[in-house]
Symmetry: C2
Subunit: 385 residues, 2 copies
Amino acid sequence: MSSQAPHPTLLIPGPIEFDDAVLQSMSHYAESHVGPGFVKTFGETLTLVRKLFQSTSPTAQPFVISGSGTLGWDIVASSLIEKGENALVLHTGYFADSFAACLEAYGVNATQLKAPVGERPSFEQIEQALKEKPYKIITITHVDTSTGVLSDIKRVGEIVRRVSPETLVVVDGVCSVGCEEIAFDAWDIDVVLTASQKAIGCPPGLSILMVSGRALERFKSRQTPPASYYASLGNWLPIMQNYENFKPSYFATPPTQLVHALHTTLSQITAGSIAERFAVHVQASDRVKAAVAELGLCQLASKPENQAHAMTAIWLPEGLTPPDVLPGLLKRGVIFAAGLHKEVATRYIRFGHMGVSVTSGRPDIDNAIAALKEAITEAKQAKGL
Amino acid sequence: MSSQAPHPTLLIPGPIEFDDAVLQSMSHYAESHVGPGFVKTFGETLTLVRKLFQSTSPTAQPFVISGSGTLGWDIVASSLIEKGENALVLHTGYFADSFAACLEAYGVNATQLKAPVGERPSFEQIEQALKEKPYKIITITHVDTSTGVLSDIKRVGEIVRRVSPETLVVVDGVCSVGCEEIAFDAWDIDVVLTASQKAIGCPPGLSILMVSGRALERFKSRQTPPASYYASLGNWLPIMQNYENFKPSYFATPPTQLVHALHTTLSQITAGSIAERFAVHVQASDRVKAAVAELGLCQLASKPENQAHAMTAIWLPEGLTPPDVLPGLLKRGVIFAAGLHKEVATRYIRFGHMGVSVTSGRPDIDNAIAALKEAITEAKQAKGL
């Protein structure tokens, strides 16, 4: 039985429900950030991040930094590209607009390749765009939390290496790491940036990055100094290298309790087969998507190949808005999220199905599917639809 | 009795020992960052930050952001001063060098006014420096954690308003907020930036700022856009205003568990008299400093008026280094910190005495004083001193 106080089940696309042991790690007693106990925990955590990314490359480097996932954009924008250089931003929803805004804050020329809501730029369009201009980086939102659209980062990576091999492949994996397959080395990715509170299953407050040797070389050969202090990879690189070698090191005080929680959840995730973890998320997603179809509802993500496996963005029946449906879900003990994509926010809801809610044998997903059916029916009746 | 596992008492100048209720808040179950429960908690927390700073000014604004204290420097450097403008950095230790490095990362001309180790620039020197050049900001480390030197921010503020009234007064209060007196409005300060893990008594992972109306106006009248995305005050301002008005708002996912812990500790701190809290820290500090003198040892901070009340940096007897003394303290259940100031790091240790260790009737400080006496004696004997 859970040691947590009774509460409605949180099934938004992050933060997600937490495992008891992870939450208990959040209450770890005070430790020195440079004492041997914490140094060991942090060092092991960084090595666990490598495992999460299926990476064994000695030149790649994991980073775990106090901040939200958003901070990862600043790290890329201030460290891996310079003022006046070009970035190609593949747009599959809200988060591409924000990443582009972040790049522009650092004087980068961000060109967005947009697709209609629920779709993604085609491989042909991406190839064409890469041929038009030299881009220092391409950014791909692996799963856009606003639309539930999944990008094919493996295939995009292949196109980049063929057409524009010097372009760094930067993946925003905030809503994908821990639930969608990512083979960092094998797919030759340069950066995956993510956050702790989604499929990784740790409370929010950690910006987590995996950075390739190629990207670190790019950082070291900058023409201009990094355009930030806190977000400069250079300030964090020796810190991460030292901790992973079990040597204390100081740039800024690490969030010791959150690192303990990350250690706990990554130990759980990597103790089992990571392939199986991805498969379990696919199975849960299939169940959700079948139930949505059975209800006669459609997803924002228009085709099976671009539908995320850890969340589903669901168009509401004509005439209903999120406030018509979300209270009915809450009454049944389930929390979904409203829409987020500016153009259509009032017309859809989002159902997150990741982490312990799908991996631990909890009844969360089945309960949520049942609640969704009832809440939609009830809302339609109330509106006379 | 504490619910925490047995552990040595952490008496470094941050992170510090945590209250049981604060640690329990870290294990709060998953909540939506935009749901009514968390929105209320975050909104109340921001209002509690105002109380902590004894501020009632409606134009001032508290900020609570996922990140370490270091992030506060980037917020100031990217938001409140522009490339090519001048900053005067008062130097009382390691953290002025770092703040200056941060300002320079954003193209700011940082002029450091240095004092010998253990001292602080004189009021005359500060006044003179302010008359030499127009400075957009002056930065003061309230307590430099590397030296234990306390600055007189009230008096410096008065000088600034008299001599250079347009200069923003920026206080690095990482090691002072919650233990040294700060009257934000009455002393007409523009920014205090701090972190959660020192005298505030919350685990690390929150960058906390109090910003004056004057500083916000300065931000709004910038000639150039903010030089950061994550560290731009403009991206956070509406978020903080909305939460404080109990309206959900999204820029980046807030660290929900840490915010709960901050709410708990700030509720405790502001439930009592804040003046009494400062007085209790002074009393504990007096006891520590008397014991240090009794041992025949000196402090880095050379004069009573520049000695911090929440930590003491202690010169070791000639011939001893931190590794000679710290293990003897740990053997007795107490953790102090080694030196940090580059020039003299091997010659001193640091004793943090703040938060629950001094306010809760715990025997921590008396035990630590006894342990210090024994460890020093033992180390001297071992070295034949």
